[in-house]
Symmetry: C2
Subunit: 344 residues, 2 copies
């Protein structure tokens, strides 16, 4: 009944025979059309209904939504979002905000994560667009987006978030990372002799921009600038090294949310107090009253989702590039140290 040689067998995982409507109809002894009707919950004679349901169960029949979608001409209501690292609360908040806006308009948001791998990004983009995703919100990991030119010329709606497109004209919502980092370092220098800066690995655009801003103030070869802190643990390690020097920094600047967390962990572990400022905000910074430089991830997610909706109604919009300002959230004044809970 089911031909195991059929095309869809054995692509990934175990070969898997899929029963078709045809197979169910044959086993039930009724026509394809009747079978379709019954499985779609329309009325039919009791006899036919039970025969068809039995046959479907026996053959483990599952309708092929791909075929249905093709025939019925229904358009997908899916919007895709591709982020670099879903475990970073910055991106999950962004995704949540976008989802809220899109769901209100009847669209599904499907989120995938590249783990900063350009290959994965290209593959995910391709697979999402081929499935007629109505728009794509992209936090890019790839260093070059010219591969998207053709897709965009073909009418795909692509919107960049948090990091700008490279070699491509497309909508983007990014923040003024370089300028913000430069200005906060300049401000710290006013009340501190030694300002240390800890940055991420130099992969993401935001990481490079923030570092560039700090370098403009402190010089490229400052021994107080340290990078490579991709996880909080690594940031903690670097901070401990800095604090252990003969001339330790009097202020520490963490160039993203995870790094600043690591800095606070270091202070806690060493029982030290020090002025701390963070780029990006978080619950922990709030609790310790650490002054932060921040763009709401929710704001970026909302703007991008709204733009996606606009583009879905009118794909011929000219690209816009919106620069969002990072704002300083004043908490502990920059010349005061962050005090840690006393240890027993």
């Amino acid at each position: 009944m089911v031909d195991p040689q059929r095309a869809n067998a054995g692509i990934k995982g175990q070969p898997q025979e899929r029963a078709r409507l045809q197979d169910v109809a044959a086993l039930a002894g009724v026509s394809i059309k009747t079978t379709s009707r019954i499985l779609n919950g329309e009325k039919a004679s009791a006899g036919a209904t039970s025969k068809v349901l039995d046959a479907a169960k026996l053959l483990r029949y599952r309708p092929n939504g791909i075929a249905r979608e093709l025939r019925s001409g229904a358009i997908s209501n899916g919007v895709g979002m591709i982020v670099s690292d879903l475990s970073n609360p910055f991106y999950s908040k962004m995704a949540y905000a976008a989802e809220e806006i899109l769901a209100k308009e009847g669209f599904d948001l499907f989120i995938a994560s590249t783990d900063e791998d350009p290959q994965r990004e290209e593959g995910l983009v391709k697979r999402m667009l081929e499935r007629r995703t109505r728009a794509l919100l992209l936090v890019p990991s790839s260093p070059d987006h010219s591969y998207l030119k053709f897709e965009m010329a073909l009418g795909s709606n692509i919107i960049f978030l948090d990091r700008p497109p490279v070699n491509l004209l497309a909508d983007s919502f990014v923040s003024n990372d370089r300028q913000a980092a430069r200005e906060i370092v300049a401000e710290l220098k006013k009340s501190h002799r030694r300002v240390a800066v800890i940055g991420d690995e130099q992969i993401a655009w935001t990481a490079k921009e923030r570092l560039a801003g700090a370098v403009e103030e402190l010089g490229a070869d400052s021994p107080l600038i340290q990078i490579g802190a991709h996880r909080p643990e690594k940031a903690e390690e670097i901070a401990i090294e800095l604090l252990g020097r003969a001339e330790p920094p009097t202020a520490l600047l963490g160039l993203n949310n995870l790094i600043t967390l690591g800095i606070l962990q270091a202070l806690k572990k060493c029982g030290r107090s020090c002025s701390v400022v963070g780029v990006d905000d978080s619950d922990v910074l709030q609790m310790f009253e650490v002054t932060a430089l921040n763009v709401d991830p929710e704001r970026i997610g909302e703007l991008a989702a709204q733009r996606a909706l606009k583009r879905i109604s009118n794909p011929d919009l000219a690209p816009i590039n919106q620069l969002l300002e990072m704002r300083k959230i004043h908490r502990t004044p920059l010349d005061r140290p962050i005090i840690f809970p006393e240890r027993k």
Copy 2:
């Protein structure tokens, strides 16, 4: 050339004419097959190539992946994950861990969020399965999963995480929330006269279980049990009220990560110190050395992803229900208060 009356017009958003391969071929003056070859990057004569590419651009042609997939019989490599609230770090960590495991085996993980809406859950499940998602990881929001019986009988691979299926036999990975909550309250009672408990709105299974555990120790009508704290701000408000009573609690138990965050915010705001314990761990609890009861979200995500892989190779596995133990992470002893950074 492009017939604006075609079926896929005007379903959602603006009507959108889609050029077909046929339209491109007609405009370029070559056959459909040649057009297909050129757009798929195969070799063809230079003349045909440029004519086809021009026509494709002019018509904003995008291949229909649905049709391609149907004809070529390719099987999707997508796995779906549906969570109740993506902005909760618990779930984004879970998703990240699952994604890592699945990506290693060549599967894409597509994540969607229901915002605790059963309707959205049903819709998302249906749309994902119809698209031949190979497996579905589900943190359910719905109070009844019998709607999935038919899907499962048809061979869909569905795995429940964090919350168990109701009226359905399916794989699940959940923690012993009730018992863990009961035991920690019992332990707190040993060194505290007044143990207060703050819980979430009684929607999610975990919220109900945790409350039930606390009630078993404190009684259903204890004035020290407060629920409805769905956001940290609400938990903070409740905690402030509790702390302002004539006989304030000597210990506060937060029944999830966001609630415990709110409790700490309340203590900070009021400048009070108090013993605090949290169900679920977080960066903030770690920094304040709050003792926590925890199941690694990463562990749940990994187990579920591994189970999905197994089911994809062998769909006939009998359902398993794994109960994960919540473990106590000892930090500050239960009879000691959490001390807050001194305010200036």
